[in-house]
């Protein structure tokens, strides 16, 4: 594979590099250092108002803005795809305000900002994943009060979470959580891995890449440092399982990637394709080259 040097767009000089002022970036970096030092712990930070709406990736964007350097190559995905509108919008934002190179190819990227997916292509040690997080608190839907949940984390008191999972098993026969599936990080903090499908959870465990999570509206950030143990919560007699499909991708034929379901006509005919567009394209081009 020949490595192409991506084209760099021109930077809009009206803004500081990557939009945020240096003071703010320093504040976020200090928060990130703390987050890396305490894996899975939610660090409050002075989240700023971004020119994108809350809920649309303002937390992830602030993390990205704080860590971007001049020579970084940025990839932005939403639902695994580079061409979803919000991914396009965020990629454009950084191309304009930081003038950095962007890519759709997972192996070429140094920073990958994502919403709801982890790429299928294995990550390497020179990469940083930035996750957009809507609700950082894994206990929020069990206990709405922040004062209470912070105390529960401090006391390592996760009984309610296990009770919730147990109730699922009692009611449905299995754990009925399919995305934002809670994980235990470094045997200490229960963490929300952001709304990625549980299919992606195993990719967090002992990953060589640094994982940063930013929640803008809730003003929290957290991290999973490289090679950290990340375990999806389960029970011995009900082990954690990931989704499987009977179908394969209609484009590349992959049987091991996460599939999106498409409805093709009024009769409800289904088709399944890879959610990770870059992975799908790579596999397709390899097959063409092989023919």
């Amino acid at each position: 594979m020949t490595r192409v040097t991506p084209v760099r767009p021109e930077r809009d000089e009206a803004y500081n590099f990557a939009y945020l002022d240096e003071q703010t970036k320093r504040m976020i970096r200090r928060g990130l250092l703390k987050a890396v030092a305490i894996p899975g712990y939610q660090v409050p930070f002075g989240g700023r108002e971004m020119p994108l709406p809350y809920g649309w990736g303002t937390g992830g964007m602030q993390m990205t803005a704080a860590i971007l350097a001049d020579d970084d190559v940025l990839k932005v995905i939403d639902q695994g795809a580079d061409d979803t509108t919000n991914a396009v919008s965020i990629r454009r934002f950084f191309a304009r305000t930081a003038g950095i190179a962007t890519t759709e190819r997972t192996p070429e990227a140094t920073v990958i900002q994502t919403r709801h997916r982890i790429p299928e292509t294995p990550l390497h040690a020179d990469q940083i994943m930035v996750y957009q997080v809507p609700i950082p608190e894994p206990l929020r839907f069990i206990e709405p009060s922040e004062t209470e949940t912070r105390t529960m984390h401090a006391l390592n008191d996760y009984g309610v979470m296990h009770v919730k999972l147990y109730e699922d098993i009692a009611t449905f026969g299995h754990i009925a959580t399919s995305y934002a599936y809670p994980v235990m990080v470094d045997e200490r903090y229960v963490m929300d891995p952001s709304p990625i499908p549980k299919f992606d959870n195993p990719k967090l465990d002992i990953s060589p890449a640094l994982m940063l999570f930013g929640a803008g509206r809730e003003k929290r950030l957290y991290a999973v440092p490289p090679y950290t143990k990340v375990v999806s919560l389960d029970f011995e007699d009900h082990p954690f399982e990931i989704q499987k499909w009977e179908q394969c991708c209609a484009i590349c034929g992959s049987r091991d990637s996460y599939l999106d379901e498409l409805i093709l006509d009024d009769a409800g005919t289904q088709s399944f394709v890879c959610s990770d567009t870059d992975y799908c394209a790579q596999l397709s081009s390899q097959q063409e080259a092989g023919q």
Partner: protein, 358 residues
């Protein structure tokens, strides 16, 4: 097939152009000038400045124009601009007792030193559509009495405080926190709460304030005093060592007199709720004052049982930029998560379906 569910750069560009066209409307009608909005929609400008936390009439008017009249969107625009501004100093506290009053009323006393001043208000207008406004023309101003002047208007609640009938609010010398720089953490203090409420959505605070009047956290409010007018803003730069006035702003201030509290040790006293907003924004200031008071439940040992008394509930949900953003993000694609749920629901239905077939 694949492209149908994905957007693209072209779609975004076209959407922005369509929006610009919708905003402009019929081009045979003269374009609305920012100065016209500033002059002729002052109450909209006031709301945008208040909830946008930035006193700049021109920029607020610009935001209203850019947002095509969507005030929550305009507030967002102003906020996003505000974040980029450097902070060079904090002003001294404004002194509203020496305000140049345009309007002042107290519902607790028939007459107060300085008198009541109705000023420009919708109160007592009959809400009948004024078809004369459909036509263009000049509108006569009020009759002005030459030589009329305002007497000093001391704060109404200050008069109660002199008698010890209302709980004194004592300041502290602690640095004022800034919730736009440091994240709000619970339990919060009153300074943080008032900041959050000042930025909070008018409709949300109005509804919560209303809920306290209907019995959800009842605390018997009276409009002790509402005053609207211009106040000077003073700063004291360190290198000067003395304060200087940098201009004046219009504000609306509301002090509610509420249910008295007393205990074996303390004599019964009234308590107060406080509201302050930029410009002429009476409904906002009143809603804020009601909610400020209900959030002081813990301070006055009242039972906390209603939404308006719960600080986490109120403060986490009063910001309309946050709320609008998170609600609108539901428009973003969620098909990865939905696929997970589909898979799960199908899996859960399988055993039941198999049982039926047997």
């Amino acid at each position: 097939m694949y492209v149908a569910v994905k957007g693209g750069e072209q779609a975004i560009d076209n959407a922005h152009r369509l929006l610009a066209k919708k905003r402009r409307g019929d081009t045979s009608i003269a374009e609305l000038a920012v100065e016209q909005i500033r002059q002729q929609l002052p109450l909209a400008v006031a709301r945008v400045m208040t909830e946008g936390s930035l006193y700049d009439e021109q920029l607020a008017a610009l935001a209203i124009k850019q947002a095509a009249g969507d005030l929550v969107e305009a507030i967002f625009l102003l906020r996003a601009y505000r974040t980029t501004l450097p902070r060079f100093t904090a002003s001294l506290p404004i002194d509203t007792s020496v305000m140049q009053l345009n309007r002042r009323l107290s519902a607790t006393f028939k007459d107060v030193p300085g008198g009541q001043l109705l000023g420009p208000t919708f109160d007592y207008t009959h809400r009948l559509l004024d078809f004369a406004l459909l036509a263009e023309g000049e509108y006569p101003g009020p009759q002005v009495e030459e030589g009329a002047s305002l007497e000093p208007c001391p704060r109404v609640l200050g008069l109660l405080a002199k008698e010890g009938l209302i709980k004194n609010e004592t300041g502290n010398d602690l640095a004022v926190p800034d919730i736009t720089r440091d994240p709000l953490e619970f339990p919060s203090n009153r300074a943080q709460r008032l900041q959050a409420l000042a930025r909070g959505d008018e409709g949300f605070l109005l509804a919560l304030g209303y809920s306290t009047q209907r019995g959800y956290g009842r605390n018997h409010p009276f409009a002790g005093e509402i005053r609207i007018g211009e106040v000077e803003v003073w700063i004291e730069p360190q290198e000067l060592g003395f304060p200087i006035a940098i201009g004046s702003i219009e504000v609306t201030e509301c002090e509610m007199v509420n249910q008295f509290v007393g205990s074996g040790k303390e004599l019964p006293q009234f308590t107060r709720g406080y509201g302050l907003a930029f410009g002429h924004a009476e409904r906002k200031a009143m809603g804020m004052a009601l909610v400020d008071r209900s959030l002081r439940a813990e301070e006055f040992n009242e039972e906390i049982e209603s939404p308006a008394q719960q600080e986490e509930f109120v403060l986490s949900h009063c910001d309309n930029v946050e709320a609008a953003g998170f609600v609108s993000h539901l428009k973003l694609p969620h098909y990865v998560d939905f696929q997970s749920e589909l898979e799960l629901v199908r899996k859960m239905r399988k055993p039941v379906a198999q049982e039926k077939n047997q």
